[in-house]
């Protein structure tokens, strides 16, 4: 598992040079944005079940056959598995976001996920749709552009526009999940 710092170290080591001023500039940016990054992580961790449940519910609403006998979310045991997977994906996205690097998501969540779903007969298009909804919900909560109440308490909360860049980064991790399943 790598984070933004160890990623820089691994790439410098492959060249055999110490990390100098140029590479440090990007890392200083990471440090400067630390509070926003922490807020963005909190935005996920404080709304996990809400984000995952909404996404699965949305997916089912668009394909009502799923909860009928013969559907992939019937009976509730399979629906529960679906909710659990949503939370797991969200957990690895929150790790990647805190680390500032996608390696933890790739190594521990996405590697082999598509094959597992294919083997279990999980319809990939529906799984992708659920991840898409999670992405939209997460970005909305982070940037405080969701309708209704403010969804998280953080250092910069109340000024959601500050999390815009980090929210874009979070969206890129969800996109990574989507492309791994496609």
């Amino acid at each position: 598992m790598l984070d933004a710092f160890s990623r820089a170290v691994v790439s410098a080591d492959s060249k055999g040079v110490p990390i100098g001023t140029e590479d440090l500039a990007a890392l200083r940016q990471y440090v400067a944005d630390a509070n926003k990054r922490i807020d963005a992580t909190l935005a996920i961790t404080q709304n996990v079940s809400c984000i995952a449940a909404d996404a699965v519910a949305g997916m089912v609403c668009e394909n009502t056959g799923m909860t009928q006998p013969g559907g992939n979310c019937y009976p509730t045991r399979r629906m529960a598995a679906c909710l659990r997977d949503g939370e797991i994906i969200l957990r690895y996205v929150s790790y990647a976001l805190l680390a500032g690097d996608a390696s933890v998501l790739d190594d521990r969540c996405l590697n082999g996920l598509k094959e597992t779903y294919l083997a279990l007969g999980v319809p990939l298009s529906n799984a992708i749709r659920a991840v898409e909804i999670m992405k939209i919900a997460t970005v909305a909560i982070m940037t405080e552009t969701n309708t209704g109440r403010k969804m998280f308490e953080g250092i910069n909360s109340g000024s959601g526009a500050q999390c815009k860049e980090i929210a874009a980064e979070a969206a890129s991790y969800f996109d990574r999940v989507i492309s791994a399943l496609s």
Binding site: S6, A8, V9, V10, D13, P18, R91, V104
Partner: protein, 155 residues
């Protein structure tokens, strides 16, 4: 690669939980020290050749020695300093542990290398760090902490 953030995430993942408030506090605590660490890393990267040459000269003194051996010695010191630079960046001892210290004892024993000379060199570097000429107080503290870690591993 072990760093402040990955250590916290490994523990959280083993427990299957989201990053908790205390995880986030731990990350934040490490990032608060990051400015000093990065200053030390930057200064070390800029002066790494000079620091190496200075340390090698101090160890070899005025006597005449085989140049090839001396070159190898300075290559090794340069290597360890580079790993210290990486440790300063990650905020953990991961790079030194994984690329410097793991297996070091075996290599040193097989090749009959004089660890005392390395210790002498790093002690010299440690004592030569001048505040505020070279770096700030906090940066020097981070740098010296890692030099101590390496010296202890060699001893």
């Amino acid at each position: 690669m072990k760093s402040a953030v990955t250590t916290v995430l490994t523990v959280a993942d083993a427990a299957g939980r989201f990053p908790s408030m205390s995880d986030i506090e731990a990350v934040k605590g490490s990032l608060d020290r990051a400015a000093a660490r990065m200053e030390a890393a930057e200064k070390l990267a800029a002066g790494i050749d000079k620091v190496t040459a200075d340390a090698v000269d101090a160890v070899y003194g005025k006597g005449s020695y085989d140049q090839a051996n001396k070159d190898k010695c300075s290559r090794d010191i340069h290597h360890y300093l580079r790993l210290i630079n990486y440790c300063l960046v990650t905020g953990g001892t991961g790079p030194l542990d994984e690329w410097g210290i793991a297996g070091m004892r075996e290599v040193i024993r097989v090749q009959v290398l004089p660890t005392a000379a390395y210790i002498e060199a790093f002690t010299h570097i440690r004592e030569r760090v001048c505040v505020p000429r070279d770096m700030s107080q906090q940066a020097a503290a981070e740098f010296k902490g890692l030099l101590d870690y390496l010296i202890n591993a060699l001893a």
